[in-house]
């Protein structure tokens, strides 16, 4: 009775078509439609269309589920994938000794600074990944040689990640010049031919540890800061692999 005094709205009419009104309100709408033949015709059409649409599409929900959509199978493949990524992350070990500088605590990551390191790493990747011999001629052939070279150039004990546990072989490395001072760069390759460049240099602004993804035309990478050092991993490996490797390096450097 209270409802009846409330004017019928377009929302009421839609809910009527969809059968979602209380029975009292449904009666109100029926009476309203009885008084308004044009509206009644419109609503009758809406109901007919809805019914035709449901009938037309009903068979689509009645098809047997193909095995590609079998949920336990999808879940199992997902578990294998995440186990694999966990193993990659856990397999990173470091060559070289010593600790990086003091811990300056969390600070806001200055995006500009981090972006510059990302660009530098992408540039190193562009140079080192074209090639074989010519660009790596002057590079350190083994990780320990790179550790020595980089520790001297950066005037601090440097460490080189060993990624062989995740299938990435150390191809070589070198110290590269940047506007912010020398940086250590190491390049890795796996059996699929994916290449990753790891680059580290001192950061002016002491930053936090948040990992930030970035992209360029040639691939994607992640950059993060720890203490007063900036680290970046860039390459053409799938994003989740790069992320797992970067996470592993980040943890190993802690």
């Amino acid at each position: 009775m209270m409802d009846e005094r409330e004017p019928i709205s377009e929302d009421d009419l839609n809910a009527y078509v969809d059968g979602r009104l209380s029975s009292a309100r449904q009666e109100d709408v029926r009476r309203y439609l009885g008084r308004n033949p044009d509206e009644a015709a419109r609503i009758a059409d809406h109901m007919r269309h809805a019914e035709a649409l449901r009938a037309a599409l009903a068979p689509l929900a009645d098809r047997p589920i193909p095995s590609e959509l079998h949920l336990p199978r999808l879940a199992a493949s997902r578990r294998r994938r995440s186990d694999q990524l966990r193993r990659i992350a856990a397999s990173v070990v470091l060559v070289g000794a010593g600790l990086a500088g003091g811990w300056f605590g969390h600070a806001r990551i200055e995006s500009g600074t981090v972006a510059v390191l990302g660009q530098e790493t992408a540039a190193t990747y562009a140079l080192l990944s074209q090639g074989d011999a010519p660009t790596l001629t002057y590079a350190a052939a083994d990780p320990q040689a790179l550790v020595d070279w980089a520790s001297t150039a950066l005037r601090r004990p440097m460490r080189v990640p060993d990624l062989s546990g995740s299938g990435f072989r150390f191809l070589g490395g070198q110290v590269v010049p940047t506007a912010q001072g020398p940086a250590m760069a190491a390049i890795y390759e796996n059996e699929q031919g994916d290449r990753l460049v790891f680059q580290a240099r001192q950061m002016r602004a002491p930053g936090g540890t948040k990992m930030t993804p970035y992209r360029s035309a040639e691939g994607g990478g992640l950059v993060w800061e720890r203490n007063d050092m900036g680290y970046s991993l860039f390459g053409n490996a799938p994003e989740e692999v790069s992320r797992a490797v970067a996470t592993g390096i980040q943890e190993a450097l802690t």
Partner: protein, 184 residues
């Protein structure tokens, strides 16, 4: 490991019943059964990855449709263009899949289906979710990431628009041979 199994079972029980509806919706939107199943597979993988983010007291159905919707929106390039143009260019696939048009009723159903394919995407999505999939207005709002008021106005406009496309009246006897309208 046992809790892992229990979790997997709960996940399976919550998600699996919705797979037929997800496939139908994807197929209605993309108008291509294979592309639709690709989208649903991506949707299910994302749902598995993000299962821990799903609150048990929220509608699993709305959550899954929301993932499917964003999967299809992000997959435009991969799955081809959605909507009116695709429907006009290739009107056969889904109608054949859905209703083999033999009897008069089925011819009429196919006509309604074609008209729905010519609706603006926003109206069509709401109409399909509410009318065919039976989502509540709130669930539809969640699935499409819009306020419920927007759902109601799209539903209203979509229904009137559909009526207009079908020639004002929608009785079987008056069903006219569908014409493909120019797409703007």
């Amino acid at each position: 490991m046992q809790s892992e199994d229990v979790r997997a079972l709960a996940q399976r029980r919550a998600i699996e019943p919705h797979i037929p509806a997800l496939r139908r919706y994807a197929c209605s939107v993309l108008r291509d059964a294979a592309a639709a199943d690709d989208a649903v597979q991506d949707c299910l993988l994302r749902a598995i990855d993000r299962w821990h983010q799903h609150r048990p007291d929220n509608s699993t159905r709305a959550w899954l449709f929301a993932i499917l919707h964003s999967t299809m929106m992000n997959g435009l390039r991969k799955w081809g263009r959605r909507g009116i143009q695709l429907a006009a260019e290739d009107p056969a696939s889904i109608e054949e899949l859905a209703v083999p048009a033999r009897q008069e009723t089925q011819i009429y159903q196919a006509e309604v289906l074609r008209a729905v394919g010519r609706l603006p995407e926003a109206q069509r999505d709401v109409l399909l979710l509410v009318t065919v999939e039976g989502l509540t207005y709130d669930e539809t709002a969640t699935a499409l990431g819009v306020p419920v008021g927007t759902v109601m106005s799209r539903l209203s406009r979509g229904r009137d628009h559909l009526r207009e496309l079908l020639g004002g009246r929608g009785t079987e006897k008056q069903a006219r041979v569908p014409h493909l309208r120019r797409v703007k």
